[in-house]
C-alpha cells in the first residue's frame, strides 16, 4: 500500500509540474513569436525574425529550470494537505517527492541539454555530470526552503522571508569589513609560501569539490526530511 501511495505522490508531482511547464512553454513561445512578428512588421527583416525565433529554445531552457526550482519551493504544503487528507504518511510523502524530484530534474536536465544543443558545442560527460549535480543541488535546496517555509504561518513567512536575506547581507558586509580591517595580516598570509603551498594542494585536489558538494547535499536532503516530518496543518 505504501508503494501505491508513493506512486500517487510521484504522479501528482509529475502531473502538476508538467502542467506548470506546459503553461510556461505556451507563454514563452507565444510571447517570443508575437514580439518577433512585431519586429518583422516594423523592420521588414525576415532574417532578424528567424534569428529571434531561434532564440526560443534557449529561453525555454532557462525558464523550465526556473519552473522546476519554483515548483519545489511552492508546493510542499499543498502536497502535504492532500496527502494527509488521503491517509498518506509524511514519510511516504517525502520519499515520493524526493524520487519525483530526482526524476523530474533528470528529465528537465536532458530536455535543457537538447534545447541548448543548437547554441552550444557538445559537452564532455564530466561537465554534463557536474551540470546535472548543480541543477539537482539547486532543486534540493529549493525543496528544503519550501519545506521550511511550510512550517511557518503567514506572519512568520514574511518575517523570515525578509529577515533571512537581510541578515545574510549584513553578514557579508561584516565579513568584507573584517577582511579589509585585517588587510596586513591577510597580505602576510598570502605571501607565506607554506600557506600558499598548502592551499594549492587543497584546491587542486580533484576529490575535494565533490566531498564539499556531498556534505552540502546531505545537509540539504536532511533538512528536507527534518522539515517534512514536522509539517502539520496550519491555522492561518
Amino acid at each position: 500500500m505504501s508503494k501505491q501511495k508513493m506512486t500517487l505522490v510521484m504522479t501528482n508531482v509529475f502531473h502538476r509540474l508538467g502542467q506548470a511547464i506546459l503553461i510556461t512553454v505556451g507563454w514563452i513561445v507565444g510571447f517570443e513569436v508575437v514580439v518577433s512578428l512585431m519586429g518583422l512588421i516594423f523592420n521588414r527583416n525576415p532574417e532578424s525574425f528567424l534569428v529571434t525565433l531561434q532564440g526560443i529554445p534557449s529561453t525555454l531552457a532557462v525558464f523550465i529550470n526556473l519552473v522546476l526550482l519554483a515548483y519545489f519551493i511552492v508546493t510542499p504544503y499543498v502536497d502535504f494537505k492532500w496527502a494527509i487528507q488521503n491517509g498518506i504518511s509524511r514519510k511516504t510523502m517525502w520519499r515520493g517527492r524526493a524520487l519525483a524530484l530526482f526524476l523530474a530534474t533528470l528529465v528537465i536536465f536532458i530536455l535543457d541539454e537538447l534545447l541548448s544543443m543548437a547554441n552550444q558545442p557538445a559537452m564532455s560527460p564530466r561537465t554534463l555530470l557536474v551540470n546535472f549535480l548543480i541543477l539537482l543541488t539547486g532543486v534540493v535546496t529549493c525543496q528544503a526552503v519550501g519545506n521550511g517555509f511550510s512550517l511557518l504561518n503567514r506572519t512568520w513567512k514574511w518575517i523570515v522571508g525578509i529577515g533571512l536575506p537581510v541578515m545574510f547581507i549584513i553578514f557579508c558586509v561584516i565579513m568584507v569589513r573584517l577582511i579589509l580591517a585585517m588587510g596586513s595580516q591577510i597580505t602576510a598570509l598570502v605571501e607565506n609560501k607554506q600557506f600558499v603551498a598548502a592551499m594549492t594542494v587543497v584546491f587542486n585536489n580533484p576529490v575535494l569539490p565533490y566531498v564539499l558538494w556531498l556534505i552540502y547535499f546531505a545537509i540539504m536532503l536532511g533538512l528536507t526530511k527534518l522539515f517534512n516530518d514536522r509539517m502539520q496543518l496550519r491555522r492561518d
Binding site: 500500500m1 501511495k5 500517487l8 494527509i84 487528507q85 509524511r90 516530518d229
Partner: protein, 289 residues
C-alpha cells in the same frame, strides 16, 4: 478491526490550551457522536487522531501502533472536514481517484449514485460548488472510502434539510452494508440522537462524558411540579438546570434516581433528550451537586 486508543492527549497553541489530558477509546464498528460547544476542541481532536496536527502531549494508537506517520494506521482513517485540503482545481472525480489510489477499493458505483442523488456532476471542481454541495461531495467520498474509521467533522455544514435527510439515510445504509466506526462531530444533536450509539462530550478542554447514549439518557430526568416539592425531591441530586413558570418548576436532573426516593403526588418524573442534556452539561455545571 482494531481499537483506537487516545492516551493523555493535550494540545496547546502557545499559551492557549485546547485539550488537556484526554483519554478515551473508540471501538470498531460503532457510531459515535463527538459533541462540544464552539471552540471545545472537537476538530483539534479529530485532526490529532488523523495525524494532521501533532499533540503537545500524549499518543493516539491503533492496536498499540502509533498513528504518527504509519501508513498502515493512517490508511484506516478518513477525516471529512470543513477545510478543503485538495489543490484548487481538483475535480470530484479526482477526489474519488485519490481516495481509491490511497485506500484502495473505492466504491465508484455507489459514489456516482450518491452524486446523482445530491445533483452533483463528477467533472466539476470542488471549489466551484456551493458550501452545501461541497459538503455533500466530501460526504460522498467519506461514505465510499475504504477506511475502518471515518470521522465526519460538521458533516451537515450548509446542507439543506432534504440533503441532510439523504445523508443520514445513506450513512445508516453504508454502516449496515459495511459496519465500521463513524465519528460524527456536529452541533445538530437532535438530528443525530437516533443515529449514534455512544457520545463523547468535550467541555473546558476535557472529556466530560464518554458513555452510550442509552446509559446517559437513563440518568436524564425531568422533575416537574410545585417548586417547593420539586426542590425537596431533587435535594442531593445533580440538577443541571431548572425552568420555572409561576409556581410550577421543572428541574433537569442528571443522576441515578434511587427507589427509596418517594415521588410526591403532584410531582411528575419524565425524561429529556440528548440536546437538553448536552446544554445542561456544557452550560457551566450543576445547581445542586
Amino acid at each position: 478491526m482494531e481499537q483506537l486508543t487516545i492516551s493523555h492527549v493535550s494540545k496547546k497553541y502557545g499559551r492557549q490550551v485546547i485539550l488537556e489530558d484526554l483519554n478515551c477509546q473508540l471501538a470498531p464498528g460503532k457510531i459515535y457522536g463527538l459533541l462540544g460547544r464552539n471552540g471545545a476542541g472537537k476538530s483539534t481532536l479529530l485532526n490529532i487522531i488523523t495525524g494532521r496536527i501533532f499533540p503537545t502531549n500524549g499518543t493516539v494508537a491503533l492496536d498499540k501502533l502509533g498513528t504518527n506517520d504509519q501508513d498502515r494506521v493512517l490508511g484506516q482513517f478518513y477525516l471529512m472536514s470543513e477545510s478543503n485540503l485538495y489543490p484548487k482545481r481538483t475535480t470530484i472525480q479526482r477526489m474519488f481517484d485519490l481516495a481509491d489510489g490511497s485506500y484502495g477499493h473505492f466504491d465508484y458505483q455507489n459514489a456516482n449514485r450518491l452524486l446523482k442523488a445530491f445533483g452533483i456532476d463528477a467533472k466539476i471542481q470542488l471549489s466551484k460548488l456551493s458550501t452545501g454541495l461541497q459538503t455533500a461531495a466530501k460526504l460522498v467520498v467519506a461514505l465510499n472510502v475504504n477506511a475502518n474509521y471515518v470521522f465526519l467533522d460538521e458533516p451537515t455544514l450548509g446542507l439543506d434539510a432534504n440533503h441532510r435527510e439523504l445523508f443520514y439515510k445513506e450513512l445508516v445504509k453504508s454502516y449496515q452494508e459495511k459496519p465500521r466506526t463513524f465519528v460524527l462531530s456536529t452541533h445538530l444533536i437532535d438530528e443525530i440522537q437516533q443515529l449514534v450509539e455512544h457520545v463523547l462530550i468535550l467541555a473546558d478542554h476535557h472529556l466530560i462524558e464518554d458513555a452510550d447514549v442509552e446509559t446517559l439518557l437513563d440518568r436524564a430526568y425531568t422533575v416537574t411540579g410545585p417548586a417547593n416539592l420539586v426542590d425537596q425531591y431533587v435535594a442531593g441530586l445533580r440538577v443541571l438546570s431548572a425552568d420555572q413558570l409561576g409556581t410550577v418548576k421543572t428541574a433537569y436532573v442528571f443522576d441515578q434516581l434511587d427507589d427509596q426516593r418517594v415521588i410526591p403526588d403532584q410531582v411528575k418524573v419524565g425524561h429529556y433528550d440528548l440536546q437538553k442534556l448536552f446544554i445542561g452539561l456544557t452550560n457551566g455545571g450543576s445547581e445542586n451537586e
